[in-house]
Subunit: 325 residues, 2 copies
Amino acid sequence: MSLDSPSVTMDDVLAARARIGDKIRRTPVLTSSTLDAMAGARLFLKCENFQRAGVFKARGAFNAVFSLDDAEAARGVVTSSSGNHAAAVSLAARTRGIRATIAMPKIALASKIAAVRRYGGEIVWVEGKGAVPTSEEYDATVARIERETGAATIHPYNDRRTIAGQATCALELLEDQPDLDVVLAPVGGGGLLAGTAVVVKAAGARIKVVGCEPQMADDAQQSLRAGHIVPQLAPRTIADGLRTSLGDITFPLIQRGVDDIVTVTEEGILHAMRLVWEVLKIVIEPSGAVPLAALLERRVPVDGRRVGLIVSGGNADLDHLPWIK
Amino acid sequence: MSLDSPSVTMDDVLAARARIGDKIRRTPVLTSSTLDAMAGARLFLKCENFQRAGVFKARGAFNAVFSLDDAEAARGVVTSSSGNHAAAVSLAARTRGIRATIAMPKIALASKIAAVRRYGGEIVWVEGKGAVPTSEEYDATVARIERETGAATIHPYNDRRTIAGQATCALELLEDQPDLDVVLAPVGGGGLLAGTAVVVKAAGARIKVVGCEPQMADDAQQSLRAGHIVPQLAPRTIADGLRTSLGDITFPLIQRGVDDIVTVTEEGILHAMRLVWEVLKIVIEPSGAVPLAALLERRVPVDGRRVGLIVSGGNADLDHLPWIK
């Protein structure tokens, strides 16, 4: 655990909530006796699939965009993302009435490109040597746009404003269900998990925080065990939101406040995702099913406990359901 | 319009609510600025996909099952259905601790058969001359079970208890949104539409009630125009909940309280269904998408009005999505 003072505090989270509370949705917490019986615990699913832009990332994007002063905002914002963060930043910028430029790979899903355009984001294609651009190629494109336009960069996770905004999700969950024993969140770049840890540990050290990630992208578990960031190389998981590596802001917060990181199989993700669609009648994306998969694969000891799960988003590709061959 | 006194009144509906209110779910009413913009009206979607057993039919089944006196209940209940009503009656009977026998065709979807079994219903296969049993063959099977066991028959729609229970859906909708201009409900056998008409017209004659059905199963529209029940022959619509004909109890209630019945295309149903999944992130079945399809196909004049839509259920076949070829 880091002994330095944390880079994101409850004060930051409360400020974020005051800033974005009327711009994002307070999402519902759903329960299901069927899922409880299967997991052997009492589950509380915080449904960020109902969040604006269909994903928790709206919280971080709105907080970052509305943190800018007027002069900064006038120059617009820029980010790189092939997915949910791109749409969330576009929506937040449009809401503030400023320009958003999104560096995207040409191989991004058509549905993700359409979402950015629907929210008014301007797309700049990242040119790479391979089919999938490297982080360096993304960063070079963002830096060029920043240089040319003066736009402010909003990192998808390794950014204090993003983390504080994303942390408002756990804040709402604990307000609705104060007596949880453990909170599970998916972990990709670590913004959601870091923010969750800040909030949960401020509420009570006895509440456990567990990060959940695919076995096929287990860099966060490796990083926590090694004590330094282990980068994610060539992840092949279906959970497309969880393929990124941790950042130097998210990792220390995770070291400080997360009790454990567990991994799940690809089959487990598919099964949990389909189960939520079938039982709860809600559309969630693969990444959002990872915490439930961790429970159903018995990766977290929760016998009879009260468990909060952050269902991170609902932007599934409806034309290619992963369980239909 | 019939001048006789109606067979189902608001008193029946209020009694039904008192009987089943703690046994069914009060489902949410969702809104969406995206859908509002597409429909050119303000929409309020009453989401019965979140109802127990995934469908509004739980309301009628619970009301009928809990209307029985103890001696009747001890002999169990029987019904015939290839779908949602079968599961709903099984669940209601299990909740009361009594036996439910369901006459089903062997060609029923595996998911529907599994739902009946999950809720403890006992299946009796209806033997027919063709692959799809006729109504007469269904009725003969139900009559035989009734004779052999003394079980009480619960008709899926042509039953005052079923209609009164299903009407509690509109009651909740109007409590949450009293100032609607029009309420749209799908129509198959007519139980939901008849019950909706009873409630809405009791709340105010100025609120319009419009039934919505597939062009491929337009018997209710034909019946309303002809002034007598026109049976549905060989319906081929994807909206599997709306293939039945009206009954002699539902039809007079529909004549009395429904302002119009409109039809939609199969493409329109598919489009509306997929749109709800994508925009609202909820799983609904084809029948539940029919009212929205009617708005998007401009079959109901709603310009700028406040429109309630009953989204009847969420039991879609997740392994065969109709928009995936």
